[in-house]
C-alpha cells in the first residue's frame, strides 16, 4: 500500500476515489426533501408577510366593493424576479461609512450576505449623461483584496447577457446594462458566488434630476 501510494498516487487515485464515491449514502427522496426544505423556509420567512398581505387585500376588497368604489381590476405586469428596492435601514453589517443607515435604497443578494446600495434610483438604461448608475456592493464578510468582483448579468425573459469585472474597485461602481429590464446579476469573487436581481428602467422614465 505504501509502495502504491508513493510510486504513483496520481495513477491509482481516480480508482480509489471512485471506490470511495460508491460508498456514498443514497437518499431516494432527494428531490422531495429539497422541495419541502425550500417550502419550509419560505413559510418561515414569507408567512408573516403573507398575513399582512391578506389583511391589505381584504381591506382593498372592501374599498373596491363599497358603493362608489372603483371596481376595475388593476392591470398587472407578469411576475418578475425583481422586487422594488428596499428603502428601510441597511443591515447593521452594511452601515460602515454611511451617516444615515436608511439614506439609500438597496437590494439584498440571494444568500443575503451582500447588499447592493443604489446611489441614484432608479437605475436606468441607457445611462443618462448627468447621473451614473452608481452601486456600492457591500459584502457581509470582507473579501480578500485580490478577489475581483465579476458580475455576469442576464436579462429576464431574454438570452442577453453581459459581464463586468469591477477589479475590486473601492467605492461605488458604475454598472450600466445594455438594455432596460430586470437583470439577474451573478456575482463572483474569489471562490464565492451569489446572485441578485436589479431592475434598470428605461432612461425616458427617469425623472430629471
Amino acid at each position: 500500500m505504501k509502495d502504491a501510494a508513493m510510486n504513483d498516487l496520481e495513477t491509482v487515485l481516480p480508482g480509489l476515489l471512485g471506490d470511495l464515491g460508491r460508498d456514498a449514502p443514497h437518499d431516494p427522496d432527494l428531490a422531495d426533501r429539497a422541495r419541502h426544505g425550500v417550502r419550509r423556509r419560505r413559510v418561515l420567512t414569507v408567512g408573516p408577510l403573507a398575513a399582512v398581505l391578506a389583511v391589505c387585500l381584504t381591506l382593498g376588497g372592501i374599498w373596491i366593493t363599497r358603493p362608489g368604489g372603483s371596481g376595475t381590476a388593476p392591470v398587472t405586469d407578469p411576475p418578475s424576479a425583481c422586487r422594488p428596492l428596499e428603502t428601510g435601514p441597511l443591515p447593521e453589517w452594511a452601515r460602515a461609512g454611511f451617516s444615515q443607515p436608511d439614506g439609500n435604497p438597496f437590494a439584498r443578494s440571494d444568500s443575503g450576505a451582500r447588499v447592493a446600495v443604489v446611489f441614484a434610483a432608479p437605475l436606468v438604461s441607457p445611462p443618462l449623461p448627468d447621473r451614473g448608475n452608481k452601486i456600492l456592493w457591500v459584502p457581509q464578510e470582507t473579501p480578500a483584496l485580490t478577489d475581483d468582483l465579476v458580475i455576469t448579468g442576464t436579462l429576464e425573459g431574454a438570452t442577453t447577457s453581459t459581464t463586468i469585472d469591477l477589479h475590486s474597485a473601492p467605492g461605488p461602481s458604475s454598472v450600466d446594462m445594455p438594455a432596460p429590464g430586470c437583470w439577474h446579476l451573478s456575482l463572483t469573487w474569489g471562490s464565492h458566488t451569489d446572485g441578485i436581481d436589479l431592475r434598470w428602467e428605461p432612461s425616458s422614465s427617469a425623472a430629471p434630476s
Binding site: M1, K2, A4, A5, M6, L9, E10, V12, L13, P14, G15, L16, L17, G18, D19, L20, G21, R22, D23, A24, P25, H26, D27, L30, A31, R33, A34, R35, G37, V38, R41, D110, D147, T154, H184, T188, W189, G190, S191, H192, T193, G195
Partner: protein
C-alpha cells in the same frame, strides 16, 4: 412540463452522482447528505434559471463545491486533522476493500479544504485545471499549487511520514 417535473427528472438522473461527489469531498455520510440537500435547495429556488443554463451539472456542482468551502471556512480552523489513522489496516491493498477506502479518506482529511476540492475535482470528477480554476474562482497556477501540495501531503501520510507541523493541512492556505 412543469418546473417540479424537470427538477425531479434532473435529481433522478444526477442525484447519485452528486451524492458521490459530496461524499468524496466531505468523507462523512451525514455531512455529504446535508451538503447535497443544501445544494439542491439552492438550485430548486432558482430552478428556472438553473435549468436554462448551458451546463446545469457544472452549475450545480459549483454550488455544491462553494457551499462545502463556505461551510469549512465558517467552521474555521478549530478542526485539526487526526495525527494518525485510527485502527490503520497495515498491509491492506489500496485498490480494494473498506480498509483501503478508509485510508484514502483519512489521507484526504489531512488536506486543506481547497486542496481537497482540487484533488477531488481533478481525480474524481476528471476536470482539467482550467475548469477547476473556473469552478473555484481562482487561477490555474493556484489550482496547480493546491494539487501539488495536496498530492505531496497525501504521499507523505500514506507513506507513513506525517508532518503535523505542516500548516497546509489545517486550511490556512487557500
Amino acid at each position: 412540463m412543469t418546473d417540479a417535473l424537470d427538477f425531479d427528472d434532473y435529481v433522478a438522473a444526477n442525484g447519485r452522482a452528486l451524492e458521490s461527489y459530496a461524499f468524496v469531498l466531505t468523507g462523512q455520510a451525514a455531512s455529504a447528505q446535508d451538503l447535497v440537500q443544501t445544494t439542491l435547495m439552492k438550485a430548486y429556488r432558482h430552478w428556472r434559471r438553473v435549468s436554462r443554463t448551458e451546463y446545469p451539472d457544472a452549475y450545480i456542482r459549483r454550488i455544491l463545491t462553494n457551499t462545502y468551502l463556505d461551510q469549512r471556512r465558517r467552521r474555521g480552523f478549530t478542526e485539526q486533522p487526526m495525527a494518525d489513522l485510527p485502527e490503520r489496516a497495515a498491509g491492506a491493498d489500496l485498490a480494494e476493500g473498506a480498509a483501503a477506502r478508509s485510508e484514502i479518506n483519512w489521507a484526504l482529511e489531512q488536506l486543506s479544504p481547497h486542496q481537497r476540492a482540487v484533488i477531488v475535482l481533478r481525480h474524481f470528477v476528471g476536470l482539467a485545471d482550467a475548469a477547476i480554476a473556473d469552478e473555484l474562482g481562482c487561477s490555474q497556477a493556484t489550482v496547480r499549487s493546491h494539487a501539488t501540495r495536496g498530492l505531496q501531503r497525501m504521499r507523505d501520510v500514506l507513506g507513513g511520514r506525517t508532518t503535523d507541523s505542516d500548516d497546509t493541512a489545517t486550511g490556512r492556505l487557500r
